[in-house]
């Protein structure tokens, strides 16, 4: 008898549990019926909450949106509402109150807590000293990425998962290290993603950015021995005033390793290789000879292993 009762309990008890599981699996939790975009907003950012409830039981329902308990004016019966995220780490609650045609009331709600997750990109490429802007990644160059999180706390042991074009970097999540380095992929742009989570696995924020990869370029500048580089580049042609002129080729976004140790760094005058090179391969002192009234001055710098890691250009010099 005792064995029979145990069997009955096991049989019906298991059946009941399976049924509950099936009910939960068929529907979505209330917060999943509301989609928040962006999922991890910044403070003050516009956030769109969309009702994704297409259950037959709620067909024809009226919808009222609440923002922290206050009715959102003008959003009556809209399937989405746009609100402004609050200040750092303050929880915002959005509710959608549904009244079905049969008079039933259902409340769906979601919350979000805005934090700043800033990704600072620092490419190890070269720009001239006077340039106020930032160096950009170019193919094969090393990029340092740093995450700065401002969530109102001073947590330093967050876990970061980095991905570039869907591939996880560093082999998996890394704890406490908010800086990584990687090589710029061979494509015009890549998607860099980072997820910051607490050690217990709760995701704090995530961000994806478009990482550009530019082609290095060259500008030509006149050099004055006393005053240094002339700020304005030579656009197409230079009209010489004195008998000689010193010109510097200024690469932008060239890998620093290539800049410091180029496989090819050569000047050409009228398409002929110039032997007039001093200690600085990026400078040439130009002195016209002969009867010609102009010359084409060109420069190229290049890495022979990664040929896209290089640049060339030319200007016309009139004298």
């Amino acid at each position: 008898m005792r064995l029979f009762l145990i069997l009955l309990f096991v049989l019906f008890g298991t059946t009941t549990h399976t049924a509950n599981a099936q009910i939960e699996g068929q529907g979505l939790a209330p917060q999943q019926l509301l989609e928040v975009s962006p999922e991890f907003p910044r403070p003050g950012e516009f956030v769109t909450v969309t009702l994704n409830d297409y259950r037959s039981g709620t067909f024809g329902s009226t919808i009222t949106w609440l923002y922290d308990g206050q009715v959102v004016e003008g959003a009556e019966n809209s399937r989405s509402v746009t609100v402004t995220a609050g200040t750092v780490n303050t929880e915002t609650k959005i509710e959608a109150v549904l009244y079905t045609p049969s008079g039933e009331r259902e409340v769906l709600s979601t919350t979000f807590r805005p934090v700043y997750l800033d990704v600072v990109i620092e490419a190890q490429t070269r720009v001239p000293e006077f340039y106020l802007g930032r160096a950009l990644p170019s193919v094969g160059s090393v990029v340092n990425a740093t995450v700065l999180i401002n969530d109102g706390s001073s947590q330093t042991d967050l876990v970061y998962t980095w991905q570039i074009n869907g591939q996880v970097i560093e082999g998996g999540p890394i704890r406490g290290r908010n800086q990584i380095s990687f090589v710029t992929p061979r494509r015009d742009s890549s998607i860099l993603s980072v997820v910051a989570a607490e050690p217990n696995g709760t995701i704090l924020a995530q961000r994806s950015i478009l990482l550009p990869s530019v082609l290095p370029s060259i500008n030509f500048h006149e050099v004055n021995s006393l005053f240094g580089l002339r700020y304005k580049p030579i656009t197409d042609e230079l009209i010489m005033i004195g008998s000689t002129v010193t010109i510097q080729a200024v690469p932008y976004h060239l890998d620093i390793r290539v800049y410091n140790n180029p496989d090819i760094a050569q000047w050409e005058i009228n398409n002929s290789l110039s032997q007039n090179q001093g200690s600085n391969p990026y400078q040439i002192t130009f002195k016209p000879t002969g009867v010609a009234k102009s010359a084409k001055l060109g420069f190229q710098v290049r890495d022979t292993t990664l040929v896209l890691q290089g640049a060339s250009d030319n200007i016309q010099v009139r004298f």
């Binding site: 003050g44 800033d118 600072v120 802007g133 700065l148 800086q179 240094g228 580049p233």
Partner: protein
């Protein structure tokens, strides 16, 4: 005629010509007048330059300080740095500046307009200089690349020299404070450290540390003022604005592609890329209200005073295209014909001040703007030739603030 007669006449002619040549060679007068007559006399008047007298010392240029002009070019030399100083209450206001390349320091008396060299010490390759408020000290960056050096100089007025001390740290940016100290930043492996330096004690103190290197810093006028820091600007990457005040770093609600900014304790003025456009905004920090600013202003071409309702002056060109700003301006690739505009404190309106090309005939690329303490003048340099200029704000403008 016989052949022999021809020969005799020919020999005789040769002898006569030889005689004439010998006479002219040995007995004729050799005055320059005679020689000159052998060439064309074009009947010029006396061309002797009687005015020019070569002197060993270069005459000091004089700025016409009495001229009733709102815009004046103060120097013809390229300027590495400048400051308006008033040594004492009874002494006249003066502008001190350092010449690019030589590091020589000059003073322009703003009352008389007389210019005087107050330091003849050569700082080879001087590029950037910041003067202390009292004009006694100057921090200098000289040289390029690996030869770059940083020097602290103290002006010795008695000997017209600069007593210089080489600074060992790899300084990235620097500025002076109202209390005659210097703010500067350095790079470590992966961070930027901000410090304050006391030139009298030769001591320094760390103000902040940020975990990235490529930082642009807009220094406040005092150690306790707000300092604004952001990753260097480019249209292709996002930048974020951080405020450092009293050692506390706060993320400001300002970010964007191509973003750069300046500000004080109450307002932040910034511009950023929006789609293909480039737009400017003013943020009231306490109310968190953001206002769109008329015209596209590059913040690096603006200056803001320190008051609660600041005076903001910007140099602006009616850019034909803004989709490449500000990167194209950083590269020097766009031509500019700047005018000066004054932005209202809330940023909602802009008032035209002056067009240098209309007033002086020169097209300027204005940068390094500085508003004087009494808001009566705006100093700036022309990026193209690094000359120093001043714009005198009208009295009514001053009274409004």
């Amino acid at each position: 005629m016989k052949r022999s007669v021809f020969i005799i006449i020919g020999v005789a002619l040769v002898m006569i010509l030889l005689s004439v040549w010998i006479y002219v060679l040995f007995f004729s007068a050799s005055s320059s007048d005679v020689e000159d007559e052998q060439f064309g006399d074009l009947d010029f008047q006396d061309t002797t330059d009687v005015d020019y007298q070569e002197s060993e010392t270069e005459p000091e240029p004089v700025v016409d300080a009495q001229a009733n002009q709102s815009l004046q070019q103060l120097t013809t030399r390229p300027v590495a740095g400048f400051a308006e100083v008033q040594v004492g209450t009874s002494t006249p206001r003066e502008v001190r500046y350092m010449e690019v390349g030589t590091g020589h320091i000059y003073s322009i008396d703003l009352t008389t307009g007389a210019e005087e060299r107050i330091s003849a010490t050569t700082i080879t390759g001087a590029q950037i200089a910041k003067f202390s408020k009292n004009g006694q000290y100057v921090m200098i960056r000289s040289g390029f690349g690996a030869q770059k050096e940083f020097v602290l100089g103290e002006i010795d007025f008695a000997s017209s020299t600069l007593v210089s001390t080489k600074l060992a740290e790899p300084i990235i940016s620097f500025s002076s404070t109202n209390d005659n100290r210097f703010l500067y930043s350095i790079h470590t492996g992966a961070s930027t450290i901000g410090k304050v330096f006391d030139p009298t004690e030769l001591t320094n103190e760390t103000l902040f540390t940020l975990p990235f290197r490529e930082a642009s810093i807009e220094w406040g006028s005092d150690v306790t003022d707000s300092h604004y820091i952001y990753p260097k600007t480019t249209r292709q990457l996002e930048s974020f604005l951080y405020q450092v005040k009293n050692g506390v770093t706060t993320r400001m609600p300002v970010d964007g592609y191509g973003m750069s900014a300046l500000g004080n304790d109450t307002y932040v003025f910034y511009s950023k890329k929006e789609g293909t456009a480039y737009r400017s905004y003013s943020l009231n920090i306490s109310s968190n209200i953001e206002t769109g600013v008329p015209l596209s202003q590059i913040p690096e071409k603006c200056a803001m005073s320190e008051e609660e309702f600041p005076v903001t002056v910007c140099a602006n060109t009616e850019y034909e295209f803004t989709e490449l700003l500000p990167d194209s301006w950083y590269k020097g690739e766009i031509s500019t014909d700047d005018s000066l505009w004054e932005i209202s404190p809330d940023g909602g309106s802009a008032r035209f001040l002056i067009s240098p090309s209309l007033a002086s005939g020169r097209e300027l690329d204005i940068t390094q703007l500085q508003i004087t303490d009494d808001k009566s003048a705006v100093y700036f340099t022309n990026q193209s030739d690094q000359t120093l200029w001043v714009y005198q704000r009208a009295v009514t403008d001053v009274n409004q603030n």
